[in-house]
Protein backbone atom coordinates (compact mmCIF):
# COMPACT_ATOMS: atom_id res chain seq x y z
CA UNK A 1 0.00 0.00 0.00
CA UNK A 2 2.73 2.42 0.95
CA UNK A 3 4.62 1.55 -2.18
CA UNK A 4 1.61 2.80 -4.10
CA UNK A 5 2.48 6.33 -2.98
CA UNK A 6 6.24 6.07 -3.35
CA UNK A 7 5.75 4.59 -6.83
CA UNK A 8 3.98 7.75 -7.89
CA UNK A 9 7.08 9.75 -6.99
CA UNK A 10 9.44 7.24 -8.57
CA UNK A 11 7.54 6.88 -11.84
CA UNK A 12 5.82 10.22 -12.29
CA UNK A 13 8.31 12.69 -10.91
CA UNK A 14 8.59 14.56 -14.22
CA UNK A 15 4.82 15.15 -14.38
CA UNK A 16 4.74 16.15 -10.72
CA UNK A 17 7.57 18.62 -11.27
CA UNK A 18 6.04 20.17 -14.34
CA UNK A 19 2.59 20.46 -12.73
CA UNK A 20 4.19 22.14 -9.73
CA UNK A 21 6.06 24.63 -11.86
CA UNK A 22 2.89 25.40 -13.84
CA UNK A 23 0.91 26.01 -10.62
CA UNK A 24 3.58 28.34 -9.27
CA UNK A 25 3.83 30.31 -12.47
CA UNK A 26 0.04 30.67 -12.77
CA UNK A 27 -0.61 31.50 -9.14
CA UNK A 28 -1.35 35.06 -8.10
CA UNK A 29 -0.18 34.34 -4.60
CA UNK A 30 3.20 32.71 -4.82
CA UNK A 31 5.02 35.98 -5.28
CA UNK A 32 8.15 34.97 -3.42
CA UNK A 33 8.39 31.63 -5.23
CA UNK A 34 8.10 33.52 -8.49
CA UNK A 35 11.31 35.38 -7.75
CA UNK A 36 13.16 32.07 -8.20
CA UNK A 37 14.21 30.60 -11.52
CA UNK A 38 12.34 27.63 -12.99
CA UNK A 39 15.16 25.35 -11.97
CA UNK A 40 15.19 26.57 -8.39
CA UNK A 41 11.41 26.39 -8.15
CA UNK A 42 11.31 22.85 -9.49
CA UNK A 43 13.99 21.86 -7.01
CA UNK A 44 11.89 23.11 -4.11
CA UNK A 45 8.85 21.07 -5.15
CA UNK A 46 10.83 18.02 -6.15
CA UNK A 47 12.48 17.94 -2.73
CA UNK A 48 9.10 17.58 -1.01
CA UNK A 49 8.09 14.70 -3.28
CA UNK A 50 11.47 12.96 -3.11
CA UNK A 51 11.38 13.21 0.63
CA UNK A 52 7.89 11.66 0.63
CA UNK A 53 9.17 8.65 -1.29
CA UNK A 54 12.21 8.34 0.96
CA UNK A 55 10.10 8.79 4.08
CA UNK A 56 7.80 5.94 3.07
CA UNK A 57 10.69 3.65 2.16
CA UNK A 58 12.32 4.29 5.53
CA UNK A 59 9.18 3.36 7.42
CA UNK A 60 7.37 6.71 7.52
CA UNK A 61 8.82 7.76 10.88
CA UNK A 62 8.01 11.09 12.43
CA UNK A 63 11.64 11.78 13.17
CA UNK A 64 12.77 11.94 9.55
CA UNK A 65 9.94 14.14 8.41
CA UNK A 66 10.22 16.39 11.45
CA UNK A 67 13.90 17.09 10.91
CA UNK A 68 13.49 17.76 7.22
CA UNK A 69 10.47 20.07 7.46
CA UNK A 70 11.84 21.94 10.47
CA UNK A 71 14.79 22.88 8.31
CA UNK A 72 12.52 23.84 5.41
CA UNK A 73 10.56 26.16 7.73
CA UNK A 74 13.72 27.70 9.07
CA UNK A 75 15.17 28.18 5.59
CA UNK A 76 11.97 29.77 4.25
CA UNK A 77 11.99 32.28 7.09
CA UNK A 78 15.56 33.24 6.25
CA UNK A 79 14.53 33.54 2.60
CA UNK A 80 11.74 35.91 3.69
CA UNK A 81 8.81 33.84 2.53
CA UNK A 82 5.54 34.68 4.32
CA UNK A 83 4.47 31.61 6.27
CA UNK A 84 1.08 31.53 4.55
CA UNK A 85 2.79 31.43 1.17
CA UNK A 86 4.80 28.38 2.23
CA UNK A 87 1.61 26.73 3.46
CA UNK A 88 -0.13 27.47 0.22
CA UNK A 89 2.78 25.94 -1.70
CA UNK A 90 2.55 22.78 0.39
CA UNK A 91 -1.17 22.72 -0.25
CA UNK A 92 -0.54 22.90 -4.01
CA UNK A 93 2.01 20.09 -3.83
CA UNK A 94 -0.54 18.03 -1.90
CA UNK A 95 -3.27 18.78 -4.45
CA UNK A 96 -1.05 17.82 -7.39
CA UNK A 97 -0.12 14.56 -5.71
CA UNK A 98 -3.69 13.74 -4.66
CA UNK A 99 -4.77 13.84 -8.30
CA UNK A 100 -2.24 11.16 -9.17
CA UNK A 101 -3.09 8.60 -6.53
CA UNK A 102 -4.33 5.26 -7.77
CA UNK A 103 -6.75 4.16 -5.08
CA UNK A 104 -7.06 0.58 -6.33
CA UNK A 105 -5.67 -2.30 -4.37
CA UNK A 106 -2.38 -3.44 -5.92
CA UNK A 107 -3.26 -7.12 -5.70
CA UNK A 108 -6.94 -7.25 -6.55
CA UNK A 109 -7.09 -4.10 -8.66
CA UNK A 110 -10.38 -3.19 -7.01
CA UNK A 111 -11.42 -0.26 -4.87
CA UNK A 112 -11.33 -1.43 -1.29
CA UNK A 113 -12.22 0.81 1.57
CA UNK A 114 -9.49 -0.50 3.84
CA UNK A 115 -6.82 0.07 1.22
CA UNK A 116 -8.18 3.53 0.42
CA UNK A 117 -8.23 4.46 4.08
CA UNK A 118 -4.62 3.35 4.55
CA UNK A 119 -3.43 5.37 1.59
CA UNK A 120 -5.26 8.42 2.86
CA UNK A 121 -3.78 8.05 6.33
CA UNK A 122 -0.21 7.94 5.05
CA UNK A 123 -0.86 10.77 2.60
CA UNK A 124 -2.42 12.96 5.31
CA UNK A 125 0.22 12.16 7.90
CA UNK A 126 2.96 13.30 5.59
CA UNK A 127 1.43 16.62 4.62
CA UNK A 128 0.15 17.31 8.16
CA UNK A 129 3.62 16.65 9.52
CA UNK A 130 5.01 18.93 6.82
CA UNK A 131 2.74 21.81 7.75
CA UNK A 132 3.30 21.40 11.45
CA UNK A 133 7.07 21.25 11.30
CA UNK A 134 7.37 23.99 8.73
CA UNK A 135 5.43 26.25 11.09
CA UNK A 136 7.61 25.17 13.99
CA UNK A 137 10.87 25.67 12.09
CA UNK A 138 9.69 29.00 10.71
CA UNK A 139 8.57 30.30 14.10
CA UNK A 140 11.68 29.13 15.89
CA UNK A 141 13.74 31.08 13.40
CA UNK A 142 11.48 34.10 13.78
CA UNK A 143 11.83 33.98 17.57
CA UNK A 144 15.57 33.56 17.27
CA UNK A 145 15.68 36.60 15.05
CA UNK A 146 13.68 38.69 17.55
CA UNK A 147 15.92 37.40 20.31
CA UNK A 148 19.07 38.25 18.36
CA UNK A 149 17.83 41.79 17.77
CA UNK A 150 17.96 42.28 21.55
CA UNK A 151 15.07 44.70 21.34
CA UNK A 152 13.18 42.72 23.91
CA UNK A 153 14.44 41.37 27.19
CA UNK A 154 14.07 37.64 27.59
CA UNK A 155 11.15 38.28 29.92
CA UNK A 156 9.44 40.71 27.54
CA UNK A 157 9.86 38.29 24.72
CA UNK A 158 8.40 35.52 26.77
CA UNK A 159 5.36 37.58 27.64
CA UNK A 160 4.97 38.70 24.04
CA UNK A 161 5.37 35.25 22.62
CA UNK A 162 4.97 32.36 24.94
CA UNK A 163 7.31 30.02 23.16
CA UNK A 164 6.19 26.89 24.93
CA UNK A 165 6.90 23.82 22.88
CA UNK A 166 8.00 25.87 19.94
CA UNK A 167 11.42 25.46 21.43
CA UNK A 168 12.87 22.52 19.61
CA UNK A 169 14.56 21.06 22.62
CA UNK A 170 11.26 20.86 24.47
CA UNK A 171 9.51 18.99 21.72
CA UNK A 172 10.45 15.40 21.97
CA UNK A 173 10.01 13.67 18.68
CA UNK A 174 9.18 10.37 20.30
CA UNK A 175 6.23 11.93 22.02
CA UNK A 176 4.93 13.48 18.91
CA UNK A 177 3.09 10.64 17.36
CA UNK A 178 0.79 11.19 14.44
CA UNK A 179 -1.61 8.44 14.93
CA UNK A 180 -5.21 7.43 14.95
CA UNK A 181 -6.95 8.17 18.15
Amino acid sequence: MNTNLSNIVDTQIEELKSNWLKEVRESDFLKTYKTYTDEETIKKGEAVYSHLSQWIKEGATNENAAKYFDSVGSERFKQKFPLTEVHYAIYLLKKIFWNRIDWRDKVTGSFETENTTKIMNVFNDYFDLANFHISKGYFNELLKSIDDDRKFSKEDLRSLLLKGKLEAEELEDDEFIWRHV
Binding site: D102, M120, S135, F139, L161, L166, F176
Partner: protein, 187 residues
Amino acid sequence: MVYESLIAIVESHLSDLTQTWVDEVKKSTHLNTYQKLSDEELFNRGNTLFVNIQNWLINGASLDDAEIFFYNLGFKRFKENFPLTEIYYALHLEKKVLWSFIAWKDNTSRTLEAHDAIEFMTIINNYFDLGDFNLIRGYVDELHTQLSNSKKYNATELENLIPSKIKHQENISKYLFSEGLNIDSIK
Protein backbone atom coordinates in the same frame (compact mmCIF):
# COMPACT_ATOMS: atom_id res chain seq x y z
CA MET B 1 -24.99 12.26 0.30
CA VAL B 2 -21.63 12.24 2.04
CA TYR B 3 -22.23 15.83 3.21
CA GLU B 4 -25.51 14.75 4.81
CA SER B 5 -23.87 11.72 6.43
CA LEU B 6 -21.10 13.84 7.83
CA ILE B 7 -23.59 16.34 9.26
CA ALA B 8 -25.55 13.45 10.81
CA ILE B 9 -22.41 11.93 12.35
CA VAL B 10 -21.29 15.19 13.92
CA GLU B 11 -24.81 16.09 15.03
CA SER B 12 -25.61 12.78 16.67
CA HIS B 13 -22.18 12.28 18.26
CA LEU B 14 -21.25 15.81 19.16
CA SER B 15 -20.71 15.02 22.81
CA ASP B 16 -18.71 11.83 22.13
CA LEU B 17 -16.51 13.54 19.58
CA THR B 18 -15.86 16.43 21.93
CA GLN B 19 -15.10 14.15 24.86
CA THR B 20 -12.68 12.09 22.74
CA TRP B 21 -10.92 15.31 21.72
CA VAL B 22 -10.75 16.42 25.37
CA ASP B 23 -9.28 13.05 26.39
CA GLU B 24 -6.67 13.28 23.66
CA VAL B 25 -5.75 16.81 24.65
CA LYS B 26 -5.32 15.77 28.26
CA LYS B 27 -3.18 12.78 27.29
CA SER B 28 -0.97 14.78 24.97
CA THR B 29 2.48 15.84 26.06
CA HIS B 30 2.38 18.77 23.66
CA LEU B 31 -0.66 20.64 24.78
CA ASN B 32 0.51 22.18 28.04
CA THR B 33 -1.40 25.40 27.58
CA TYR B 34 -4.67 23.61 26.81
CA GLN B 35 -4.12 21.42 29.86
CA LYS B 36 -4.15 24.48 32.09
CA LEU B 37 -7.80 25.06 31.21
CA SER B 38 -10.56 23.71 33.41
CA ASP B 39 -12.36 20.57 32.22
CA GLU B 40 -15.43 22.62 31.45
CA GLU B 41 -13.51 25.21 29.46
CA LEU B 42 -11.64 22.53 27.57
CA PHE B 43 -14.87 20.77 26.71
CA ASN B 44 -16.41 24.05 25.56
CA ARG B 45 -13.47 24.77 23.28
CA GLY B 46 -13.58 21.30 21.78
CA ASN B 47 -17.31 21.55 21.38
CA THR B 48 -16.96 24.85 19.54
CA LEU B 49 -14.67 23.21 17.02
CA PHE B 50 -17.09 20.41 16.22
CA VAL B 51 -20.11 22.73 16.20
CA ASN B 52 -18.26 24.89 13.73
CA ILE B 53 -17.65 22.07 11.28
CA GLN B 54 -21.27 21.04 11.68
CA ASN B 55 -22.52 24.57 10.98
CA TRP B 56 -20.11 24.91 8.11
CA LEU B 57 -21.57 21.80 6.49
CA ILE B 58 -25.19 22.75 7.24
CA ASN B 59 -24.73 26.24 5.83
CA GLY B 60 -23.40 24.95 2.53
CA ALA B 61 -19.72 24.91 3.47
CA SER B 62 -19.44 28.67 3.21
CA LEU B 63 -15.93 29.93 2.72
CA ASP B 64 -16.49 33.18 4.57
CA ASP B 65 -17.77 31.52 7.74
CA ALA B 66 -14.82 29.15 8.04
CA GLU B 67 -12.35 31.84 7.11
CA ILE B 68 -13.61 34.25 9.76
CA PHE B 69 -13.92 31.54 12.40
CA PHE B 70 -10.35 30.31 12.03
CA TYR B 71 -8.83 33.74 11.54
CA ASN B 72 -10.43 34.87 14.81
CA LEU B 73 -9.36 31.67 16.50
CA GLY B 74 -5.70 32.27 15.55
CA PHE B 75 -6.00 35.90 16.67
CA LYS B 76 -7.59 34.96 20.00
CA ARG B 77 -5.14 32.18 20.77
CA PHE B 78 -2.22 34.52 20.19
CA LYS B 79 -3.75 36.91 22.73
CA GLU B 80 -4.07 33.99 25.14
CA ASN B 81 -0.37 33.18 24.71
CA PHE B 82 -0.88 29.82 23.06
CA PRO B 83 2.11 28.70 21.00
CA LEU B 84 1.15 28.38 17.34
CA THR B 85 2.22 24.74 17.28
CA GLU B 86 -0.19 23.93 20.12
CA ILE B 87 -3.26 25.34 18.41
CA TYR B 88 -2.17 23.72 15.20
CA TYR B 89 -1.81 20.36 16.93
CA ALA B 90 -5.14 20.74 18.75
CA LEU B 91 -6.82 21.31 15.40
CA HIS B 92 -5.00 18.34 13.95
CA LEU B 93 -6.39 16.23 16.80
CA GLU B 94 -9.89 17.34 15.88
CA LYS B 95 -9.35 16.09 12.35
CA LYS B 96 -7.97 12.80 13.66
CA VAL B 97 -10.87 12.33 16.08
CA LEU B 98 -13.43 12.99 13.37
CA TRP B 99 -11.79 10.77 10.79
CA SER B 100 -11.12 7.97 13.28
CA PHE B 101 -14.75 8.07 14.30
CA ILE B 102 -15.87 7.66 10.70
CA ALA B 103 -13.40 4.80 10.13
CA TRP B 104 -14.35 3.13 13.42
CA LYS B 105 -18.03 3.39 12.59
CA ASP B 106 -17.32 1.64 9.32
CA ASN B 107 -15.42 -1.11 11.07
CA THR B 108 -18.60 -2.00 12.87
CA SER B 109 -21.07 -1.45 10.05
CA ARG B 110 -18.90 -2.12 6.96
CA THR B 111 -21.05 0.23 4.96
CA LEU B 112 -18.46 2.76 3.90
CA GLU B 113 -17.62 2.43 0.22
CA ALA B 114 -14.14 3.37 -0.97
CA HIS B 115 -15.52 6.27 -3.02
CA ASP B 116 -17.43 7.55 0.00
CA ALA B 117 -14.31 7.27 2.15
CA ILE B 118 -12.40 9.40 -0.35
CA GLU B 119 -15.22 11.92 -0.46
CA PHE B 120 -15.39 12.09 3.34
CA MET B 121 -11.67 12.68 3.52
CA THR B 122 -11.79 15.25 0.73
CA ILE B 123 -14.35 17.33 2.59
CA ILE B 124 -12.50 16.97 5.88
CA ASN B 125 -9.16 17.84 4.28
CA ASN B 126 -10.53 20.87 2.50
CA TYR B 127 -12.09 22.15 5.69
CA PHE B 128 -8.94 21.70 7.75
CA ASP B 129 -6.64 23.06 5.04
CA LEU B 130 -8.76 26.18 5.05
CA GLY B 131 -8.73 26.17 8.85
CA ASP B 132 -4.97 25.74 9.21
CA PHE B 133 -4.29 28.47 6.72
CA ASN B 134 -6.56 31.05 8.34
CA LEU B 135 -5.51 30.09 11.84
CA ILE B 136 -1.91 30.90 10.95
CA ARG B 137 -3.00 34.10 9.23
CA GLY B 138 -4.88 35.32 12.29
CA TYR B 139 -2.04 34.36 14.61
CA VAL B 140 0.72 35.96 12.56
CA ASP B 141 -1.31 39.11 11.87
CA GLU B 142 -1.75 39.62 15.60
CA LEU B 143 1.95 38.98 16.20
CA HIS B 144 2.68 41.62 13.57
CA THR B 145 0.34 44.06 15.33
CA GLN B 146 1.90 43.41 18.73
CA LEU B 147 5.42 43.87 17.44
CA SER B 148 4.36 47.04 15.68
CA ASN B 149 2.68 48.37 18.85
CA SER B 150 5.81 47.64 20.86
CA LYS B 151 7.53 50.43 18.86
CA LYS B 152 10.73 48.43 19.03
CA TYR B 153 10.80 47.92 15.29
CA ASN B 154 10.43 50.50 12.58
CA ALA B 155 8.43 49.64 9.46
CA THR B 156 11.43 48.37 7.52
CA GLU B 157 12.67 46.18 10.33
CA LEU B 158 9.21 44.75 10.79
CA GLU B 159 8.90 44.12 7.08
CA ASN B 160 12.15 42.19 7.23
CA LEU B 161 11.00 40.23 10.22
CA ILE B 162 7.48 39.41 9.04
CA PRO B 163 6.98 39.95 5.33
CA SER B 164 3.93 42.16 4.94
CA LYS B 165 2.78 40.27 1.88
CA ILE B 166 1.14 38.03 4.41
CA LYS B 167 -1.33 40.85 4.95
CA HIS B 168 -2.49 40.71 1.37
CA GLN B 169 -3.09 37.03 1.03
CA GLU B 170 -6.68 36.82 2.20
CA ASN B 171 -7.74 35.76 -1.27
CA ILE B 172 -5.68 32.60 -1.12
CA SER B 173 -8.47 31.19 1.02
CA LYS B 174 -10.82 31.44 -1.93
CA TYR B 175 -8.43 29.36 -4.00
CA LEU B 176 -7.90 26.85 -1.24
CA PHE B 177 -11.63 26.47 -1.09
CA SER B 178 -12.64 26.59 -4.71
CA GLU B 179 -9.85 24.37 -5.98
CA GLY B 180 -9.76 21.97 -3.05
CA LEU B 181 -8.71 18.36 -3.35
CA ASN B 182 -10.53 16.90 -6.27
CA ILE B 183 -12.90 14.00 -5.73
CA ASP B 184 -13.66 13.52 -9.40
CA SER B 185 -10.22 12.24 -10.27
CA ILE B 186 -10.50 8.87 -8.60
CA LYS B 187 -8.51 6.35 -10.54
